[in-house]
C-alpha cells in the first residue's frame, strides 16, 4: 500500500435524499442474512413454518369435526378447516413480521451488537432497515409457500385464485413489518417489549380468526374492524375461495396505506432507533 498524503484526506459527498441515513447498499445486509441462513441449522428456518400448520391440524381437523361446515365469504358453506386456514396464514404473516421487526431488531441492537458493527461501515440505518425488512419478507414468502402447499395437500384449495395467498401474505407481513421497527424504537427494556405480545395475542384471538365477526355486538365489531389483522384475515379468506366483494378493495387499500404510513414512520424513527 502506498503511503497516504494530505491530498488523500479530502472527501466530498453528493446531496441525495436521506444521505445521512442511506448508502443505497441494503443488498449487503440481505447478502449477510442469506449467508447466515445458508450456514444455519435448517431446523431453525423450518420451525416457523410449522406453527400455522399445527394450528390448522388441531383446530381445523380436530375442532372442525365438531363444527362441521360453516358459511364462507360468498355465503356458500365450506369446511371449518378451509374457513380458518387463510386466517391462520394471515396470523402467521403478522407474527413473523412483528417478531422480525421487533424482538429480532431489539435483540441484535442491544445484545448481538450486529448493528453496532454495521453502522460503523458505510451502511446507514435505512440500509439496515430495508435489508432486514426484505429478509423478513423473504422468510414470510417461504412460509406462505409451504403453508399454501399444505392447504393443497389437505384438499383445502379449490380455485387458482388461492395461489394469490402467497403474495398477499407477503403484503400483510410488509404492513406489520413496516410499523414494527418504528415501535421498537420506543422500547428500552425487555419489560416494554412484552407490551407487543400483549397487543398481538388478543388481535390473533378476536380478529374473526376462528369464527365470523357477526358473533360480536356492533360496537365490538367496529373495534375489531379497525385493527389490521381483521382486514388481513378477511382478505385472505376471500382470496382462498375466489369470492370477492367491494370490501376486498377496502382491505387492500388498508394495507397499502399501512405500508406507506409505516415506512414513513419508521424512517422518521431511524435515528432514535439506531443512532443513540
Amino acid at each position: 500500500m502506498k503511503a497516504l498524503t494530505d491530498d488523500d484526506y479530502v472527501l466530498s459527498a453528493d446531496e441525495r435524499p436521506l444521505g445521512a441515513l442511506y448508502s443505497r447498499n441494503a443488498r449487503a445486509v440481505i447478502e449477510r442474512g442469506a449467508r447466515v441462513i445458508r450456514s444455519q441449522n435448517w431446523i431453525i428456518l423450518v420451525s416457523g413454518f410449522f406453527e400455522p400448520v399445527f394450528y390448522l391440524l388441531s383446530m381445523g381437523v380436530g375442532l372442525g369435526r365438531l363444527v362441521g361446515a360453516v358459511d364462507g365469504p360468498g355465503g356458500a358453506p365450506i369446511s371449518y378447516a378451509a374457513y380458518i386456514a387463510p386466517a391462520l396464514l394471515a396470523v402467521s404473516a403478522m407474527n413473523g413480521a412483528i417478531y422480525d421487526s421487533t424482538w429480532n431488531i431489539f435483540f441484535k441492537m442491544h445484545f448481538g451488537k450486529l448493528y453496532q458493527s454495521m453502522l460503523y461501515t458505510s451502511l446507514g440505518p435505512f440500509d439496515i432497515a430495508v435489508g432486514e425488512i426484505a429478509l423478513a419478507l423473504f422468510r414470510g414468502f417461504l412460509y406462505a409457500l409451504g403453508f399454501t402447499g399444505v392447504m393443497g395437500i389437505m384438499g383445502l384449495i379449490t380455485t387458482p385464485w388461492a395461489l394469490l395467498l402467497v403474495p398477499t401474505s407477503v403484503m400483510v407481513a410488509f404492513g406489520f413489518a413496516s410499523f414494527g421497527m418504528a415501535i421498537t424504537s420506543y422500547m428500552k427494556t425487555f419489560q416494554q417489549m412484552d407490551i407487543i405480545t400483549f397487543v398481538m395475542l388478543p388481535m390473533f384471538l378476536f380478529s374473526a380468526t376462528f369464527y365470523p365477526l357477526s358473533v360480536y355486538p356492533a360496537p365490538i365489531q367496529w373495534i375489531v374492524e379497525a385493527f389490521p389483522l381483521w382486514h388481513g384475515v378477511e382478505l385472505m379468506r376471500q382470496i382462498s375461495i375466489g369470492a370477492f366483494s367491494p370490501a376486498t378493495l377496502v382491505h387492500l387499500a388498508y394495507y397499502l396505506v399501512m405500508i406507506v404510513v409505516g415506512l414513513a414512520f419508521t424512517t422518521r424513527r431511524l435515528r432514535a432507533l439506531f443512532l443513540r
Partner: protein, 314 residues
Amino acid sequence: MAGVRAMRRRVISARDLVKTYGDFNAVDGISFDVPAGESFGLLGPNGAGKSTTMRMIGGVTQRTSGHLDIMGLDPEHQGPEVRAHLGVVPQQDNLDEELRVRDNLIVYGRYFGLPRAYLEQRADELLEFAQLEDKAKARVDSLSGGMKRRLTIARSLINEPKILLLDEPTTGLDPQARHVLWDRLFRLKEQGVTLVLTTHYMDEAEQLCDRLIVVDKGKIMAEGSPTALIREHSSREVLEVRFGADRNAAVVPRLDGVGERLEALPDRILVYTDDGEGSLEQIRNRGLHPVTSLVRRASLEDVFLRLTGRSLVD
C-alpha cells in the same frame, strides 16, 4: 517537529462537542484537532467520555451540540461518506458470531460496497496481517481473546481506512498479544494512516501517541505529547514508598520537604522528585524505614493523578 505538524492538513476538527444523556453530560465541551498521519490519544478513566467522542466522530451517535469536521465532511450529515474512510475497532469485539472468520472480513467489506473479487484477495492479506491464516474457516467463538482482537483490527482495515479509530485496543490482552498489536499499529502509522485511540493504559499512550488529551468527566484536563505532559505536570522520577496501610497517612507529615510534592494514596505514598534515590536517602535519614520502596520514571498515570486527584484505573 512542530513546524512539520503545522503544515499538515487537519483531518479531524472538533469544536465544543457536547453529548447529553438525560441530565448527564457524557461529553461536556471538548475541542481538539488531529492533523493527517498523527497518532492521537484520548486518555481517561472509564466513563470519561472517550468512547462517546469516538462514536460522534463516526457519526453513529448524534451530538447534542458542537461542530465536527472529518476530512471536510460532517459525519452526522454525510455519515456513509465519512465512514467509508474510517476503520473502527470498538471497545468490545462485535464480530459477527454467525459467520466464519474469513466471512467476517468479506461480509464486512460488502457493507462498504466493495467488490467481491477485491475482498477475496484483501481478506487473505488481512488474515496474514493478523496471523490468522490457519483460522480462516474457524468459528468466531472458538478464537481466543487475542485472536478476536486481531480479527477485529483486521476487519477494520478491510476498506483501507485513512483514519483508524481504536477504542481501548489492548484492554484484556496478555502482554505478548499487546506487543504484537502495537507492532501492527506502528506499521499502519508508517503508511500514513491517522490513528485515534482511547486508552486507560499509560504505557500504551506513551508508546503509541504523538499527542494526547487527558479527559475526565467529559472535559479536557490537559493536552500535549506524552513527554511534554509528564514534564509539565509531574517530576522526572517518582519514589513510591509503603509503610503499611495503617501507617501511610500518619507518616505523610513527617515527609514534609522531601521531593517536590507528595501524594498519599491508601496503599502507598508517592514522592515526586528529580532524584528518587536521593529522596529515599532523605527519608531514611529522618529515621523512617518504608516496608518497600521503588524508584521509577514518571508516567502519564502520575499526570492524571495530579490533574484529577484520582488514580486512572479503579
